[in-house]
Structures are given as C-alpha cells and as structure tokens.
C-alpha cells in the first residue's frame, strides 16, 4: 500500500513534469548559458488582456507593452517629456505642423530599422480604426508626411499646444511591416511572435503564471555594454498580499503594483527591501454614470459626494500618503487647479436631507430611500480602493443610499467600464499629462478618447471644453480650465478621492539603479528604468 501511494505520487510528478515542459516552449530555447543570465523578476496582479499596443488601455498591459514598443517621447523622473525614439521635436507653420526628428539607431528585433514610415503607419492606423485613447489626440490631424527615414511631420487643421507632447508620450510605435499584414488592427490580437524595439521585448507568455521579456541589445539608451538585466520576468500573483510575501521571501525582486498604503509601514523596517516613492499623475475618483436613472440629477450626485469622507480616507486608508483634491483638475497641474472650490462636506445626514428635499422618501421603511440603489464597480487588485468602497458603502447607507459593490478582478472590472456597465465607477486614473487632453477625453459628448465614463452629453460643457481648446492666450486658457473645473465640480460629475503618492518596493539587496518615473503606469517598470538597473555585487 505504501508502495502504491508512492507510485501514484511518482506518476503525478512525471505527469506534471510533462505538462511543465509543454507549458514552457521558449524557456528551454537557445540560451545555453542561462546560469549567467541576470533575471529580474517582477510581480504583477493581472494577466495581459490585450497585447495590441495601439489598443490596450490597461495599465497592467502597458507595463509589458511599453517596454516592448517605443514611444517618441518618454516621461523622465520629473514628469518631463524627454526624447526616446525621437531625437527632437518642434512646431512649424505657426503651430499647425508638428515635426519629430527620429534617431537612426532604433532597430526592430527582427533586424529591420525603425523608420519614419513606422511612425506614420502607427498614427494612421490609430486614426483609421480609432484605437485607444490616442485617437482623441489626433482630432485635428489632417495628414502625416514622412519626407525621409528620420523625419515625420504631422499637419493639423488648427494649432493645439499639447499635441506633440501628448502624441509623443502616448503613441506606441509598432512595426509597419508586421502590423500592415495583420488586417483589421482593431481585431488584431498580437499575442505571439512579438517584434519590438523597446528596451525589453516580450518573448513568451504563460497566462496565469508568467511573461518573459528579453533585453534588446540594440536599445540605444542602455548603458555602455548593454543592459545588465538580460531577462525580465513578470510573475502573476493575483493577490497583492501573496506578492508582498513573495518579495520579502525573495521570490520576486520588484513589485510592479504600488504597495498598498497599509503595508508600507511593515516593509519600511525590512533592510533587504528598498522603497521608492513617486508622485501621481492621476487620481482616484468615483465617477457617476449620468445615463442611469437618479444619477442624472445633480442633487443625487452631490448627495453621494457628501458620503465620502476624504479626510479620513487619506489619514487612515492612505496613511497620509496622498493629498486631497477638489474638482476634476488635480493639484499637480499647479496653476490650472481651481483652488477656490470648496469640497463637498462629509455629512451623511445632510446628504439624506438633501435627497429628501428632492422628493426621495423611504416609503417601504427598509432604511433606504426608495429607488436609490446603485451598483459600484471597482478593481479588486487596488487594495486601497476596495477599502474605500467598503467605507463608502457604509456611509452611503446612513444617507439612505444603497450601494452594491461589484469589486472584481481587474480585467473584469475593465470590461465592465468599457461597456459602461455600472452606476458608480470607483477607480483611479493613471496618467493625465495635461489638463486640456484630460477634459477633452473625459467630458466631450463625442467621447473621442473612449474614456468619458460619465457618458455625459452636456452641450454647455462641450462648448466650454471646445472653447478652451481653441484658446491660445495662456492667461485666458488657464482661466477657462479653472472655469471648467468649477462647472464639473458643481455638477458633481465625479467625486475626487485623493492624489496618491505611490510607493514601490524592490529587493535592494539584489538590484539597484532603477530610474522611476511618476505615476503607477510608469513607476519602476518603464523599459528605460529596467535597462538602467544593475545587480548588487
């Protein structure tokens, strides 16, 4: 019998061994000296949902895609746009032509050089298929010209100051010779045989387990002699807690996700773990779907804003690592932030009174005002926000508003928001690089960026936004942005929660030299940052 059990166990082992080898097609590849390779292991909570860099809006996808596909401009540690594929950029023709000069030493991983034709192709594909949020930035684009291998000219119908920086930072450049063959790019999965020219290029994917990227020897920003880290391996830990333990234990070297504020304290005392704090370029918020009954009334949205205790959220859930914001324009935009706005007070009783003044009543005596039941979606992998969700559900209950939580796995959450299938959307913007693009993407009725999560169709707001976009005079422009800030705040289209300072954790006893950029979209894991990393001894 004992022998029998042992035999069963041995058979299981053999069986798993087989499955194991099948599951790792490329891992056994040509690399014979794998022992000498330096591998950096990064924890992520989420599988890649879309490998098409022109299309994906997911932060977690972009961690891998940004390393594989280059941008014209990247964001440095001070949130300044600095050249990546572009060597320079400027405007001609009174701001109506944006010119990018390209480096000549970028190379696709199949050996083809990266040229102006690739840039032209990428932008045209985005226009043709209206892909991703970049499409919104190309509204005034009339034509693209590539006079030589290293020059691209974007001709615009009107001058738009943020154009070059917005496009340069947001657009991934894809290989024209591959993507042109792929047919309809809105359907192109791009889920194997990746050809990239960024610092690290996707090599294999085992969903549920790991994604392997290999250093691109041609990446021009790597230090002399090539990047010290040869292989970057993303390991999937759907649970942030397991990921933190894995980091402590040394199973991974870096967490791509920021550390939840509650866990920062316990990591500070670990001498093998380094922490890097970076600023946010976005903010956490509750956004109201105004096409839903009751949420179309500003008073209901205002009442909801009054059940959110942002002060306590910042002190307790965020442990003080966040700042408060009012209105849709974040304080990180400095002069554009309308500091004259007063936050809605935390006052559940007042919220209930406001609703009762507007005709809501609890006729069936179930404790909730009749009709006021909303579903709030949120991303389970964001530990801070799932805690906010619970607290908000409780205090909304005091105001007679029933909130049902639907905090799901990140990709499920993204699918729900993409389909506008929610009443309340509790989430976090990753990066807004300028206030004008933000307002255009989030509030225009035409929804050019696909991220008007309010689904607001307000002619007055449209007029305000379009008027500001066409304003050239700086002072007038600032004034108009502030006016929109105030308008959206009064309408309570959203309840801003906080601007988070992100803390990233890594094994400082093993690796050093990260070049972190602000925001959790970029953080420690940009291709540039990873290419600068060196192992400790």
């Amino acid at each position: 019998m004992k022998f029998g059990a042992a035999a069963v166990a041995a058979a299981m082992l053999a069986l798993t061994g087989c499955a194991l080898n099948e599951g790792e097609p490329s891992a056994t590849g040509s690399s014979t000296d794998s022992a000498q390779e330096v591998t950096l292991r990064i924890g992520t909570t989420t599988d890649v949902s879309n490998y098409n860099p022109l299309q994906s809006l997911s932060k977690t996808d972009n961690w891998l895609l940004n390393a594989t596909y280059p941008q014209l401009l990247r964001l440095d540690e001070n949130a300044e746009k600095v050249p990546e594929l572009a060597s320079d950029y400027y405007y001609e023709d009174e701001g109506r032509t944006a010119v990018f000069e390209l480096r000549d030493d970028f190379m696709w991983s199949d050996g083809t050089p990266v040229t102006a034709a690739d840039v032209k192709f990428s932008a045209e594909a985005i226009m043709q298929y209206q892909l991703g949020n970049v499409a919104a930035k190309l509204t005034w684009l009339e034509s693209i010209e590539a006079p030589d291998e290293t020059t691209v000219k974007f001709h615009l119908s009107q001058a738009y100051a943020p154009f070059a920086e917005g496009l340069g930072f947001w657009m991934r450049i894809v290989p024209a010779h591959i993507f042109a063959e792929a047919g309809d790019l809105s359907e192109f999965a791009n889920d194997s045989d990746w050809v990239g020219s960024g610092a690290y290029i996707l090599e294999s994917a085992t969903p549920g387990q790991r994604y392997v990227l290999r250093a691109n020897e041609h990446y021009p920003y790597a230090p002399e002699g090539g990047a010290a880290v040869d292989v970057v391996e993303y390991v999937v830990y759907p649970d942030i807690n397991t990921m933190i333990l894995a980091l402590r234990n040394g199973d991974i070297d870096l967490m791509a996700n920021p550390v939840p504020a509650s866990a920062v304290g316990s990591l500070k005392s670990e001498d093998k773990i380094g922490l890097e704090k970076v600023a946010s370029l976005g903010f956490a918020h509750v956004t109201y779907n105004v096409t839903r009954e009751h949420l179309d009334k500003p008073e209901v949205r205002q009442a909801l804003s009054m059940v959110v205790d942002t002060d306590s959220i910042i002190t307790t859930i965020m442990q003080g690592d966040a700042q408060e914001m009012v209105g849709p324009i974040s304080p990180i935009f400095g002069e554009f932030d309308n500091t004259g706005l007063d936050a809605y007070p935390y006052d559940p009783a007042g919220a209930r009174a406001l609703l009762e003044d507007n005709g809501y009543a609890d006729a069936d005596k179930d404790g909730f005002l009749d009709g006021l039941a909303f579903q709030m979606v949120c991303d389970q992998s964001n530990a801070n926000l799932t805690r906010v969700a619970e607290v908000m559900r409780e205090s909304a209950g005091e105001a007679g508003i029933r909130i049902d939580l639907a905090c799901t796995e990140r990709n499920t959450f993204l699918a729900a928001t993409k389909a506008y299938d929610y009443d309340l959307d509790l989430s976090q913007w990753g990066v807004f690089d300028n206030p004008m693009d933000q307002l255009r993407s989030t509030y225009l009725s035409s929804n050019p960026g696909g991220i008007n999560y309010n689904q607001v169709q307000d002619p007055e707001l449209d007029a305000l936004v379009n008027d500001a976009a066409a304003t050239v005079d700086r002072d007038a422009f600032v004034k108009k942005i502030k006016a929109i800030d105030a308008y959206v705040h009064e309408q309570a289209l959203l309840t801003p929660l906080y601007v988070e300072d992100f803390t990233f954790a890594y094994r400082s006893d093993r690796f050093t030299g990260f070049a972190p950029s602000p925001s959790d979209l970029l953080g420690m894991v940009t291709g540039y940052s990873l290419s600068q990393v060196t192992p400790v001894n």
């Binding site: 194991l20 790792e24 999937v236 333990l245 894995a246 199973d251 799901t408 699918a415």
Partner: protein, 317 residues
C-alpha cells in the same frame, strides 16, 4: 468480479452525469436570461450569434440539455468569457498541478494516517490512543486557510525556508526542476494533509477496532502469530480496504481544500482557477472547472475501488 467492476463503473458514470446535469440546470434556471451567461457584452454581434447557435439557446430546455450533453461528450465545455478560448484548454493546462497537489496530499495522508490509526487501535485506551484521537479531532476541525496562512507566514515569510507562491522556478532544469517543484509543493501539500489526516486516522482506528474484534484475528493469534504480525499483516489488510474507500470519499473535501490552498499559495491549479473565475465572473469556466473536478474525483474513487479490489478480491462478494 466483473459485475463488481461493472457496478462501480456504472456508479461513476451516474455520478458524473448527475454533476453535469446539476450544473446545466443551475446555469439555465438560476439567472433570468441564459443568454446573458453565455454571451458577453464586449463580444461582437457575430460572436454572440455564433455562440447562441452553438448552444441552441433558442430551443426548448430539454433539447438544449441534449445538445449540452452531446457537446460534453466531444469534450466541449464551452468558451471562457474572459479569455475567449475553449474552457477545456484552460482547464487542462491547470489540471496537472491540482492532480499533483491533491494526489500527493492523498498519498501523504495515507502514509501518515495508517501508522497513527493502527497504533491508536492497538494501544486502545492508552496514552497513544488518546493523543491520536485528540490530534485527529483537532485536525478535523482545522480551517484550511488558517493552516495555510500559518504555514505561509512562519515557514515562508518569517523563516524563508519555502517559496511563497507558484509551483516551480522556471529557470531550473532537470533534477533541479524537480527539486524546485517539491520545494514549491511542500507548504500547500502540508496544509492540505494536516487537515485530511485526522479524520482519516480516526476512521482507520475505528475500522481496526472492529477488525481486531473479529474471529479470524483471534484464530490467527491462536495459530501462534505474534501480536505485531497479526496487527500489521492480517488486521491492517482488512481494515485498510474500507479506509481506502473512505479516503476516496474524502477526495471531495480534499479538492475543496485545494481550492483554498491554491488560492493562498498562488498555486496554478484548477482550484486557483476557480477563485480567479469567480473574480472574473467567468461562469462557463466555473462550470467547466466543477465538472472537471467532479470527473477527477469520481475517477480517483474508481481507481481507489479497483486498487482495493486488487488488494483483496474478497470484497467482490
């Protein structure tokens, strides 16, 4: 003997059929609109239409049921909502890990449970019996996540002896890979076995007590066999069979425990997949996972019965 085997096989088939039937009607009856379950918002209209046709969602329920069974027989468990690939492909890529984990937990439970149960029965009423019984009842009352978290925190996080999650280090090759496999397996395995071994040892003890009281054991002793030999050769052999079958019955809870353990240790098996499918609201995947686990448990039970038969042909009567 043949009729015994036929009976066991028939029972296995009925069990699987019941599992399949339960899930089919659950999915069709519980939510208001079955199309909502199979057809997802962000699929294209063509995909939705193709799926509706494939599942015959416009036809009467019983016809749908027939179609469903037909598809199952051809190995079609449907398409995952989230990953848009066949459910079976996803499940089969995860199944070996669960088989390894549950299989080794099964083996470990038997290996530890037998001596515990036998010693307790032989030393009935003595200290060893009391200790085994106390441990057995305690083990039976343990909550898998509590044990798993305890092991994880102590041996993983604090002492650093074992990895925190995953099933293998992909950089390892050959013998090293197997060592890594076992290294990753240790804690999830232990958290399952600790919970399983108690009830198992207790049942074995009870069976042994019954067998020890039987006449042929007494006659074995009277023929001059030593007590030790009597216990191990004769009594154990007869006590093991029901205990083996009982271990088969415990397989259901073993698999349930695996769902929890795999979740905590990020072990890439079917149990973990179930947790992910819940968070992804991926109903076809959830349904497929349950059907596959039911088949696995039933098949394992059948194998257990056959092993029992081979060990002792007496039971066929």
């Amino acid at each position: 003997m043949l009729s015994y085997v036929a009976k066991k096989v028939a029972r296995a088939v009925i069990t699987i059929w019941m599992a399949v039937t339960i899930t089919f009607f659950l999915l069709r009856i519980l939510p208001a609109d079955p199309t909502l379950l199979v057809v997802e918002g962000d699929m294209t209209p063509e995909m939705q239409a193709a799926l509706r046709e494939q599942y015959g969602l416009d036809k009467p329920l019983l016809v749908q049921y027939g179609l469903y069974l037909g598809e199952l027989l051809r190995g079609n468990l449907g398409v995952s909502f989230r990953q848009l690939v066949p459910v079976l492909d996803i499940l089969l890529s995860r199944l070996p890990w669960t088989l390894l984990l549950a299989g080794s937990a099964f083996a470990l439970t038997v290996l530890i449970g037998i001596p515990l149960g036998v010693y307790a029965a032989v030393g009935r009423g003595k200290l060893v019996d009391k200790v085994v019984q106390f441990l057995g009842v305690t083990s039976n009352a343990l909550f898998v996540p509590s044990v798993a978290i305890l092991l994880l925190v102590v041996f993983g996080a604090q002492l650093g002896w074992f990895p925190i999650g995953g099933a293998i280090d992909p950089r390892t090759r050959g013998a090293e890979a197997y060592a890594s496999l076992l290294h990753h397996l240790a804690l999830p395995l232990l958290s399952l076995a600790l919970v399983q071994v108690g009830p198992y040892a207790l049942t074995l003890r009870t069976n042994m007590l019954e067998v020890l009281g039987e006449d042929y054991i007494k006659s074995a002793r009277s023929r001059g066999f030593t007590p030790r030999r009597t216990v191990w050769r004769h009594a154990l052999r007869n006590a093991i069979l029901p205990a083996l079958t009982l271990m088969g019955l415990q397989l259901g809870t073993l698999i349930g425990g695996a769902v929890l353990t795999e979740t905590i240790f990020a072990y890439p098996g079917v149990g973990r997949l179930i947790y992910e499918a819940v968070q992804q609201l991926d109903y076809p995947l959830l349904q497929g996972a349950f059907v596959l686990l039911a088949i696995t448990v039933v098949a394992a039970n059948l194998i257990t019965d056959m092993v029992a038969l081979a060990l002792n042909p007496r039971i066929r009567s």
